[in-house]
Every structure is written in C-alpha cells, then in structure tokens.
Symmetry: none
C-alpha cells in the first residue's frame, strides 16, 4: 500500500487541535561555539522542550538542501520527491498570484530587441517601477488570446510572471529564450502533440507584446521560460480529513499552503498579529500552519544576531500559544539556514512535539537546540513524518490492519 493511500484509509476526524509553528530556516551552525538557538535566550522554549519529545528531521534526505517549496511540502506530510512544484508556479506564488488548476504560469523577462536581434536579455535591468508601468499597460492591451485569458504580474526589475488561464494548456514546450544575445527571438516549440495550442498562444503573445512595446525600448520584447502547471497534489482534506488554515505573511508560503488546500487567513506582518489571527480562528480549524519568515531572512544575510532576535521574539509569544492548549503542538523549521552559510543548508531541523501521549527522554532537555534535539526520543527522522506524528498524537489515525 502506498503511503498516501494508507493516510486516506486510517485518518479520522475529531475535535482535537494541532498547531505547526514553523520558524523558517530555524536550524543553524555554531559560530564561536554556539548556534543561533544556543545563543538565543529562550526560557519558554527551553521549558517546553524539557516537557516535549525532541528530534531532528531531514527535510528531504541526509545531505540534501531544500528550497522552500519541497521543504514545506515535506512538513505538510508529502513526499517532496514525489511532487515537483514548477519554477513558474513558485514564482507566481512568490508574487502573490492565486494559481488554479486551469492555469499555466510562466517566468518572463523583459528584453531588448534591435534590428531583429535580442541585444539584452534583461532590458538593461529596468526599474521595478518602470516594470509595473509596462505591465499595467500590457494588461490593458492584451486580455485574451483565442479563448485563453492573459495576465501579467510584475516582479523585481525586468522580471514578470505570465499567467495563462484556459482549457487544454500544457507545460510541455521549449523555452522561448535564446539564452544568448545577437540572435532572433526564440519561439516556443511543442515537446508533445498536446502542447500545440499552448505553443500557438505563447508565440502569438510574444508577437503581440513585441508590437505593443515598439516604443518602449529597451523593454521592447520578452523571453519566456519555466512553464509550470498547477501541481496535482491531493489536498490535506483528501489525505488527512483535516480542516486546515495557514497564518503566513509572505506570498510564497501562503501559496504553498494554498496548493495543499489550506485556507489562507488574513493577518498582519508581526508575530503578535499572527497570534491574534490564530486566536481569532482557533475554533474553526483542526490544523494551523503558522509561518514565521524572518529567521530565514536573517540567516540568509549571515546576520546571526538578527536571527537570534527573531527566535527570542518568538519565545516571548510562545506562552500565549500554549494558553490555547493545543492538543498537539510542533515547533520546528522547514530547513536550516545557518548564518554561517548565509544560505539554506542540508542540516536536519530541530523538532519539538508536545502532546498528552508523549514519552520522556533520558533527562529533561533543559534547552531547545540542535544538540538536545539530536538526543531526543524522536531520533532522526524525515520531515514528511512530522504531520503523521501529529495526526497520531491527536488520535486522528486509526489502527492499520487487524
């Protein structure tokens, strides 16, 4: 039996509440002997850790550094190597576009065309402001090609996302990007028969855009690549019979949550506002995904003190979460972003799981850190087992087999 078939079979509904608190990029590496978690003053997390099951979870597998997409899929209980989220979709989610099953998302660059040749693949990196102006103009001019709706969304500088909405679209076509300068526009070509319509639309779009932008030099044409359709992921409702909600600030994480069927709750930009949102909607759902971004941002900047300060801010808000008395609470990261590396890393995530049905480790952890998690009773496991463990602890899984 497949893993997901098993979940469908054994999951049951009850009124127990589960909260998954994800501090993005939480795990770290020692700088002057101490990781970010070890440096942070976290009296509340430390007390909780001494009363919880601890472990370390691999986002994908030992040695594999994940992007945010697979890392979150894994935390949501999916095998991250089974479902691939196309780059165009992630890009669309990142700029806050709602993507549906009829859509094809495509990454685009504005580019420069002179005498029939591409002379700059980034249109001189035009300003984001200029990009917005051009994009608004194009959206007013090109609304539909055949029966397919067309929508452009600005990204930073020369980047945009093109969203096609219609029936019979395919992602099986070649990039419309010559990947070189001094050559003509590279039109898309079909990789399989079913892609003919999409190829036609894409190439008509390039010509229409190029015509509309005739006077917009240096941004007078475009390159398109990374076609991606909405991934066919079964929802958390289908797999686990859960009513789920996401409380996230950044578009990509809201988008990832939406891909697995979570409701996206309106919230503010601070941890405090996120917790208010959790309290406000606490009765409406079985499962909450709360995403805190700044740990990762500071990690990427190599700013250990900044990352520590976000962990400490989170720690101050932890008691307010505990007051809700969730039946199962997990505090973890989606991946590690050690300030030392200024990047995502392959190191497993510290995991803390609190429930009424937990075992105790050899001695109370005393501290929530990579080290104490390595000694924890959960051992090393895969992050895709976090949600099944939460389900079990919430008594939402029945027995498999007699």
């Amino acid at each position: 039996m497949e893993r997901e078939e098993l979940f469908r079979k054994i999951s049951v509904e009850n009124d127990k509440k589960m909260v998954l608190l994800v501090l993005d990029g939480l795990g770290g590496l020692p700088v002057k002997g101490k990781t970010e978690l070890e440096t942070a003053q976290t009296p509340n997390l430390d007390l909780l850790a001494s009363e919880s099951e601890l472990g370390l979870s691999y986002p994908i597998a030992p040695g594999i550094t994940p992007g945010s997409g697979p890392a979150h899929l894994s935390l949501f209980g999916y095998d991250p190597l089974k479902y691939e989220i196309g780059r165009g979709i992630l890009e669309a989610l990142g700029v806050g576009i709602t993507v549906s099953k009829r859509d094809l998302a495509v990454r685009g660059n504005f580019a420069t065309l002179e005498n029939g040749l591409i002379t700059d693949r980034r249109a001189g990196r035009i300003s984001t402001e200029k990009n917005r102006e051009i994009t608004a103009y194009l959206n007013s001019k090109i609304k539909k090609i055949e029966d397919v709706e067309i929508k452009l969304t600005s990204g930073e500088e020369h980047r945009f996302v093109l969203l096609l909405s219609g029936d019979g679209l395919s992602d099986q076509l070649s990039d419309a990007d010559p990947e070189a300068v001094g050559v003509p526009i590279a039109y898309a070509r079909a990789k399989e028969d079913g892609a003919a319509k999409t190829v036609r639309i894409i190439n008509l779009f390039i010509d229409r855009l190029t015509k509309e932008l005739a006077s917009f030099h240096p941004a007078n044409t475009c390159l398109l690549r990374g076609y991606a359709q909405y991934p066919a992921i079964p929802s958390l409702k289908e797999l686990f019979k859960l009513k789920t909600a996401a409380i996230a600030v950044y578009p990509m994480y809201k988008g990832l949550a939406q891909l697995v069927g979570m409701d996206i709750l309106e919230t503010g930009r601070t941890i405090e506002e996120q917790l208010d949102t959790l309290k406000k909607h606490y009765e409406e759902y079985d499962f909450f995904f709360v995403h805190i971004k700044k740990t990762d941002s500071y990690g990427e900047d190599g700013n250990l003190a900044g990352k520590v300060s976000v962990i400490e801010a989170f720690d101050r808000w932890l008691p307010a979460i505990l007051e809700l008395l969730p039946d199962v609470l997990v505090v973890t990261g989606d991946h590690s972003t050690p300030a030392l590396l200024k990047a995502h890393s392959w190191h497993p995530n510290p995991v803390l799981l609190k429930s009424a049905y937990q075992r105790q480790g050899v001695e109370p952890a005393g501290k929530f850190s990579e080290k104490t998690c390595a000694q924890g009773i959960l051992g090393n496991f895969k992050a895709m087992d976090v949600l099944p463990l939460m389900m079990a602890n919430a008594l939402k899984f029945k027995k498999y087999g007699a």
Copy 2:
C-alpha cells in the same frame, strides 16, 4: 534490487540459533512519570540490556498504529505495507482455523429474516453456545456446493467464519451484507470476471443456510463480508533459508507464524510451559518466535499493574532462556499498547539485541526501557529490519557485492 531478492541472495545456512522473544504490546507511556517497563522490577532484563544493543523500532512508520497482523509481519522481516492480510484470514486465524492457499475465508454474522426482510443484523446476539449448536448443525447439512468444500467455525455470539476450499476462488466480490435493517438479503456481486464462480457459491450458500435455518429464528439467515484469500507471502525458508518454529498460545499468532511457514509447536498456556517447549525443541530449528500475549491484554485493559506483573514474570524466566546460550537473542514487542491509551499505539518498540558481535553504547543502559532504548546504539529503525539484523548477527548473511 528488491529487499527480498537481496535476502534470498545473501542468506546462508549455519548452525547458529536465533530466538525472538515478543512481549505483545510491550512499549508503554508514562503514568505518574513511569512507563510499564520503568515500573517493572526487571533485574535480569536490566543486566542483559546493559550488555546488549538497544534501539527503538517503528512497526510500520512514524505515527502509524498497527494491528497484530502487520506488526508481526514486520517483525518477521516483511514490509508490512507490501503484504496485506485480509480481515477474513485474520478472523480465521483468530479462531484457530488452518487456512491454505486454496481457501477463501469470510466473516459471517447470523442474522434475523422476517417476511423477507433483515430485521436484526446480529440475530439478537445469540449466545456463543447457541452459535456452536447452529454451526455444528450447518456443518452436518452443508458440506459442499458444486466442487467447493464448505466449513463453518463458530466465533463469539453471532459471529462465525466461513471457509470455502476449492479451485478458482476469488476475493473480488461485494459484501453480502445490506448494512441496514428493513431490507432484503443483499447477495454478493462480482467485482471482476474471475469472481463469477465464487459469487455463485456464496449466494447458493446463503440460500441453503437460510433454508436449513428456517426454524432457528432469530438466527435464520446470515450476512457475509471481508472475503480474504491466503496471502501470497514467501516463506522464511524461501527468503532466509531458515528452519523456523513458533511457540505461541493464542490462535492468531500461531496463524500469523504459519502464514510465513513456521512450524507451530505444541505448548501450554504459561510462560514456563512455553520455555519448556523452547528447550525441548531447541536443537531442531534455527529460529524461534516466542510470543507472550498478556502484556498486550493488560495494556488494552488499561491495567498498568497487570502489564507490569507479566513483564516481571517474564524477567524471572529470562535466565533460563539465557542458559540455552542462543547466538542471537532479541527481546521486543510487536507494537506498543500503553495502559494509558488502553489500545495499540504508534510509539516505537523497545528492542534489545544480544549477540557476540555487538557494539556498545556510550554507557551501559542500566535499565531496559523506552528511554534507554531511545539512547541505544541501534537508534530508531523499522521493525522489518529486526530479522535482517538477527540474521547478520548470526552470520547467516553473506556479503552483498564484491
């Protein structure tokens, strides 16, 4: 290479002896700070633990609570999600019926038919004694339908198991159970072409039984469901070249052992008698599965003290097993049955493995418990790897690859 293909390829025969001692439902959860194992006075187990490799094993996967069927398959080295044991087969094993490859096992209820409608799906829960009487009568009246032999075995109250023996039987038919009252008999229907014969036999059987029981109101018809054929599991002999024997008291565990090709040794109902059986047959086999049931029974009852007392009784008999000097000894459970939960649970099994080729942990465990096993040198692993580890420690696996 598939896991089982690997085992077939690398397993070799030698005269080393392996003993797998399974205390059913052994793992627990803390009540007033201590699990069942932590509460029990187990000087012999504790001494053995300090000289053994320890670990925690997942019966299926993190978060998954297993029934006895998959939990034992896993301990016998099989992937429990690869082989499913149908409910009818388990029911048959549970009442001590020997099932073979030509058989189809079906769960039955006696039910009440009035004016052509089912009015009670359990025939007023007739007594087990009455059930035995009816079943004996039916066995004397219905011995064969076409070329298929018919055998009924009483269960508790209104339940029975129907065993069909013949060629060309299938389990691909719908339940002959309306799952409602006030409706007529629901005859079986084929789910695939090959099931036509079985459907005919089942429906003829229902009519014959209903006719024979005309004067037996309220038990004057039956409902049938959970058709199951003997699962096509390769034997331990085929996979591991082992001569294996089971020393179990309860029918289901004897049955599960039989499914993987073990000889079932006659034994008494006490641990003492089980150990006498082990001693008596010690020279005849390479591998013994000794199953002790009562730890699970007390766990299911929520009787922590009862479960503790069985663990302590086992501990007193442990030295007699050690005197046999088995080359590889494992003490574990098939799953956890914490008295706290009064049910099987998802928590991994404490595992103790003693052999001449073992590594030492950081420090002697001092105690055999969930905690010390969590710190053990075997770490967290899948229960289906227990038998391969035993094989390796018995030098019954040769090198894979040059």
